[in-house]
Point group: C2
Chain length 136, copies 2
Amino acid sequence: MKRNSRLSLALHTLGHMAAEPERARTSADIAAHAGTNPVVVRRVLGRLRQAGLLTSEKGHAGGWQLARAPQEITLADVYLALDERLIATDSENDAPNCSVENALRRRVSTVMQDIERNLIERLAATTIAEVHKAED
Amino acid sequence: MKRNSRLSLALHTLGHMAAEPERARTSADIAAHAGTNPVVVRRVLGRLRQAGLLTSEKGHAGGWQLARAPQEITLADVYLALDERLIATDSENDAPNCSVENALRRRVSTVMQDIERNLIERLAATTIAEVHKAED
DNA sequence: GAGCAACGCAACATTTAATGTTACGTGATA
DNA sequence: TATCACGTAACATTAAATGTTGCGTTGCTC
């Protein structure tokens, strides 16, 4: 599997689930489809469960299912659930004694926060129900 | 030095250069100030030289200097020179046979391209001449 | 309740990209 | 000509993500 693929894996899986919401899927099935490992799938989907997007059941007929209607899960929900950010929050040296460094951080982080907000707004405009449809 | 710090290193260095454009700085000086290694500095600044933002001179009084006035170098110039992008261009499997995957790529990459364009516009609004000033 | 299927999770291994380091060549200048 | 600084290649180190193994827990089915 390729790098930083948690978002890809999550969206891909939810996209398929949106097509057949009633069907429960095991992490082994999902892993086989995505070309990865069941434990990795549980790790990623576990975050979506914590965020209330998925449910998981143990036992014989267990597996993963959407926790609500696919029309009510947006790409932004998934993005936020995985807690990925465009930039690191940069909390190492809160007050570097270099004025250039300070000025740069202020300006750049302002821009990045705006951009991230913009990204989330854009992602919120698409639900996973729209993703499994072939038409654009 | 911390990770993915090429942009930080580049902006920081150019910010200082903007304050004293006439002064040439050696990679050793810059590395000491930034807490990293001279070779790393040359690697990063070498990209800025290729992009026409810096000049470097060998020999006794050699070192690095801005290739043009600091008012004419924007943060976007630096960002683009380093060839960093928000997302990988994802050119592995150009046509995956999974329709969900295809639909996702179309939508997500459209959004990301817009966001990236937006980011570059925002960065282009600030020059490195504005960064070394203490006032906001 | 025995057995099995599935998740939950911890511990460790592997991979990969970035960064750091060493070494040596080249050009410029005192 | 001795020295300083960049240019670059080769290799080492680090850190984050991903992959793997093992085992416990839960719930179903027989």
